[in-house]
């Protein structure tokens, strides 16, 4: 159970949500519409705040937030269910990969421990800031140079193939 202070919700969780939702959309070939992304990120941030406050082991909340992320990306960002699922999974994957090596690195550079960073409101906002900035930078580069992993706008073309699924 993690009760986030409002400063962390506003200045860390919301920008991070904007960044990785954008990343997911860009990497699956969509051009994000900023007002829709902002709305999706807002709803996701609120949902994240609520789920994190639940009495469940930390980490499980990430798996619970995935369906929420799929819904907000598909419906609010307006990219359809398959596109939304693809963008959600790719974006979340990008966030977790970056987090898994940047968070320990930043903590090590700052000389702080994880409990210290988490239980101080402003440290909780500042420590992940470079990570959010990196995520935003990667998203911008992918958008600028039209890099993508898969083209989700072709997702509805069901070609007749020998699929095992």
């Amino acid at each position: 159970m993690d009760k986030m202070p409002w400063q962390a919700v506003l200045f860390q969780s919301f920008p991070e949500s904007v960044a990785f939702i954008c990343l997911g959309l860009v990497l699956v070939g969509f051009k994000p519409r900023w007002y829709r992304v902002a709305l999706a990120a807002t709803i996701f941030t609120v949902a994240s705040y609520v789920i994190r406050g639940l009495p469940i082991p930390f980490g499980i909340h990430t798996l619970l937030m995935l369906p929420v992320l799929v819904v907000v990306t598909a419906v609010i960002a307006g990219v359809g269910w398959r596109g939304g699922a693809m963008a959600a999974i790719v974006g979340l994957f990008g966030l977790l990969v970056l987090e898994s090596f940047m968070t320990p690195l930043l903590l090590s550079l700052s000389g702080l421990s994880l409990p210290e960073a988490l239980h101080n409101t402003w440290l909780r906002v500042l420590i992940p800031a470079p990570q959010t900035a990196t995520l935003a930078g990667i998203t911008y580069l992918c958008y600028r140079f039209n890099w993508y992993l898969v083209r989700a706008d072709e997702l509805d073309e069901d070609e007749d193939d020998a699929s095992p699924f």
Binding site: M1, M86, F93, L96, E99, P115, L155, A162, S163
Partner: protein, 291 residues
């Protein structure tokens, strides 16, 4: 994008997300930041992940094998397509040469060489008719094979004569299997005539259709097959050829024919050896569901 690709992407990234979550749970647990999970829960999650991962890998492997099979089929189809294109080019060339042939015949008739004109027309008509019959099969993969075998025969100094009954294209046998049958029989016949004089080096392929019975007959001149060998030649691994031959050709012909309820017959005399594969349409459909 194909559905199968999407599922593969979901599976791979999904596994990575679960792994990342377990990793961060371990980090938080070790740091004591706030209560995460008991070691037993972490172990259980790890175990579940292994099961999930194994299932995903199994599905992914199956996907890869399917794709490899598709790739092989695609390559085979491409070969057929290339051969069909050659056949079409040959027919175009024949049409283009039509005026030349007419002029040649006119010249022969004008100079009183009627017999020569007749022979000339017979030869040209034979080529055109054969190409037309092959094309009229309406089974591109079979037409492609026959055209390829014509080229092979010519390269080996032999002549391949093809006769196709109208309607033979409706034979309820898979194209790839049919090609293996005919391909093996023609290859054997070409080998059999390779030692003969030039004027006898000919192989005949007849595709006959009578009612609901389809017959493929491949015949060639040459010494007869000894009676004591006539059953053994269909055995797996048996060969009379020198060099590296696995002895699988006629075995494959018989196996494939049986798969469609067909029969392989052999008639070998001093004048001619003929292999005949007979399919009854009803049996073939019943055996394989090919319509």
């Amino acid at each position: 994008m194909k559905k199968s690709y999407q599922v593969v992407v979901f599976l791979i990234l999904g596994q990575a997300i679960v792994l990342a979550v377990i990793n961060s749970m371990i980090d938080f647990y070790q740091s004591g930041a706030f209560p995460v999970a008991s070691p037993e829960l972490l172990q259980a999650m790890g175990g579940l992940f292994i099961v999930f991962y194994t299932l995903c890998m199994a599905l992914f492997l199956r996907y890869i094998f399917t794709k490899v099979k598709e790739e092989v089929e695609y390559k085979a189809q491409k070969r057929y397509t290339d051969n069909i294109n050659d056949l079409i080019a040959a027919v175009r060339s024949q049409r283009h040469d039509f005026i030349n042939h007419v002029q040649a015949v006119y010249g022969l008739i004008k100079t009183g060489q009627v017999e020569a004109a007749r022979e000339y027309i017979e030869e040209v008509y034979g080529e055109v008719k054969q190409a037309g019959e092959v094309l009229s099969l309406n089974r591109p993969e079979i037409s492609a094979l026959l055209h390829a075998k014509e080229g092979l025969a010519a390269a080996r100094g032999a002549k391949l004569q093809i006769k196709v009954d109208p309607g033979f294209g409706r034979i309820p046998v898979d194209g790839a299997d049919f090609n293996r049958i005919v391909g093996n029989l023609v290859d054997n016949a070409l080998d059999a005539v390779s030692g003969l004089e030039d004027d006898r080096r000919g192989v005949k392929v007849e595709m006959l259709c009578e009612g609901s019975t389809y017959q493929v007959r491949v015949s060639n001149p040459g010494p007869p097959i000894p009676p004591e060998l006539r059953q053994r030649i269909f055995a797996r691994g048996f060969t009379t050829k020198k060099g590296e031959h696995q002895g699988l050709g006629l075995y494959a012909v018989q196996s494939l024919a049986s798969r469609y309820g067909g029969m392989v017959g052999l008639n070998s005399t001093k004048e001619c050896t003929a292999f005949t594969v007979t399919f009854a349409a009803k049996k073939a459909r019943a055996k394989t569901g090919v319509s």
